[in-house]
């Protein structure tokens, strides 16, 4: 039998009708003369015929007309709109093949983060302005940040010659500058 291990695959191919005429004939002659291969063939045939017998006998119990009527019912039945979408999704995204969903989710997250940064400080909102440089030409200047309203205020005081603070109730008649 050991010498026939390499023949098992050929016997399976022969059983499945996948060998050429010449190969088939050659194997048939060999099996007639080799007890081991003959036994291997018998076991494979029994395995196949038992399975075929089980399935065939079960299938023969399925009468056509009731089956056809059931198919017709499905064809004529009005399906809810989401059923087709679900069926399509199941076909496109079977549970065992969602490996690409992980990178897709990552891509979506990145897109979301980009969108969020794009809309950050959108209409009406005032995220803090940043003063990067300032030169008041010798005048006093104050920077104010108000956190509730996110307001940045640059306040320019009058120069020394003017002597009047901007916060006084009575302001000078003309501009100080």
């Amino acid at each position: 039998m050991n010498g026939c291990e390499d023949k098992i695959a050929s016997i399976e191919l022969w059983l499945d009708g996948e060998l050429s005429g010449a190969e088939s004939e050659s194997l048939r002659v060999h099996m007639a003369a080799c007890a081991g291969c003959s036994e291997a063939r018998r076991r494979l045939e029994k395995l196949q015929s038992t399975l075929t017998g089980v399935l065939l006998s079960e299938a023969q119990r399925v009468d056509f007309m009731p089956f056809w009527r059931a198919v017709q019912l499905r064809v004529n039945e009005k399906r809810p709109w989401y059923q087709d979408a679900l069926d399509w999704m199941r076909g496109v995204l079977p549970a065992s093949r969602v490996a690409w969903v992980v990178p897709a989710v990552i891509v979506l997250l990145l897109a979301g983060v980009s969108l969020e940064s794009y809309w950050r400080g959108g209409a009406g909102r005032n995220a803090f302005a940043t003063v990067e440089s300032i030169d008041a030409y010798g005048r006093n200047v104050a920077l104010l940040r108000e956190y509730d309203t996110k307001t940045t205020v640059i306040w320019l005081y009058q120069d020394q010659e003017g002597e009047n603070e901007a916060a006084e109730e009575t302001a000078p008649s003309g501009p100080a500058f």
Binding site: G91, V92, L93, R97, W100, P103, A104, V107, L108, L110, A111, S114, L115, S117, Y118, R120, G121, G122, A123, G124, R125, N126, A127, A129, T130, V131, E132, S133, I134, D135, A136, Y137, R139, V141, L144, E146, D148, T149, T151, T152, V153, I154, W155, L156, Y157, Q158, G162, N164, A166, E169, T170, A171, P172, S173, G174, P175, A176, F177
Partner: protein, 155 residues
Amino acid sequence: MKLLKKPPLRVLLFSLLAMLAVAVTGTAQKQPQNVEVRIRAILASNQSDEFDASLKGLEKQLRVLKYRSYRLLNDESQNIPRNGNKVFEIPGGRSLMVAPQEFQDNRIALQVRLTGGQKPLLDTTVRIANKGNFILGGPPHEGGVLVLSISAAMQ
């Protein structure tokens, strides 16, 4: 209806998602060509308790300054190209030059020069959020002080 084979459809879906992400990211990082700058000149004083209804959108920010009265003097918008500049006339014989510098992370850097007559009063570079603003104030005007709201929006 064509019967699409499964693998190309999944590849197509994933490619569309990837392209969408790239497009959105690209849009977010895109350098705009113009900036719309809006200058609102406001008179803040304690001479009355009136609040100009046209300044409703700025009320919370203006109240920070603790004046009792706010009146809109001038409201002007101009489109300024990147690396260009425009001069706004400010009440009281002043002018304000605004030059958009750069755009990064949805923020605009503005170079601003306030001039009184021919004399420069203030030079500053401020980075503000797109569609955001900052307040520049202090110069006395008509019994109160001049307050400027300087806002910018990418175009």
